[in-house]
Symmetry: C2
Subunit: 113 residues, 2 copies
DNA sequence: AAAATAGTGAAGTATTCGCTTGACAATTAT
DNA sequence: ATAATTGTCAAGCGAATACTTCACTATTTT
């Protein structure tokens, strides 16, 4: 039951919750450059290995990061699945803000006739 | 000093923090359909007016929502500025996940030569 | 074999977060 | 004028969050 999530809404919730933390976004920024180990991430961010591990779990559950442990080092990289989902969410809401800056003004005029 | 923010990073932080809450995203979903008053939002979400007001402040500060009070009713609508910024962030990270699913595998092979 | 490196797990802590209640102000309806 | 509607402000509360430390395992290096 790892692949087919019964609730797409839950996936969106996890996704945005993961993106909501600045440290996790910094990790994504870093991983956007190249795959990196847990130690390097910790060093770069100035936090403990444990903290990085906790963030990684959240990032993996939201499919923003994939990791693989070979030997004693776990390597982390961007996972496209989460970003695809994010892009889809943006696309699904685009119509609403492409309506223009005066959507509010228009609405108020209509109500006021 | 409402338009030129000295720190674009702070704007990104506010943006993703705002998007991180499911109630606020539900508000955005609703406002994507049409501008709405605070009372209607509260009714729809099953929370108090006060709670909606608190969320609105965060959504306005991140430029995801604009509001205008005429008479005693405050009308809320989508603000394009925040969504533009979100889209920009996605675009700036796109290269990293368009590299493909095997970015991690490739990296591990290279290291292992 | 011993020491160093890389990561994991459990438990605790300080802060932030989302929400409520209760009191209040301002506009609109009767 | 009174009453009802719509929203705002201040304070407080319980839960969640992002960390840490300490103890431990597993792999590499010397």
């Amino acid at each position: 039951m790892s692949e087919s999530d019964p609730s797409p809404q839950a996936a969106i919730d996890r996704l945005f919750h993961a993106l909501g933390d600045p440290t996790r976004r910094a990790m994504l920024d870093r991983l956007s450059q190249a795959p990196t180990s847990v130690s390097r991430l910790a060093e770069h961010l100035g936090i403990t290995l444990t903290a990085v591990g906790q963030h990684l779990q959240i990032l993996e559950e939201s499919a923003l990061v994939r990791t693989e442990k070979t030997g004693r080092v776990r390597t982390c990289a961007i996972d496209s699945a989460g970003f695809d989902r994010l892009e889809r969410w943006v696309r699904d809401h685009r119509h609403a803000w492409e309506a223009g800056l005066d959507q509010l003004g228009q609405f108020l005029e209509e109500e006021n006739e």
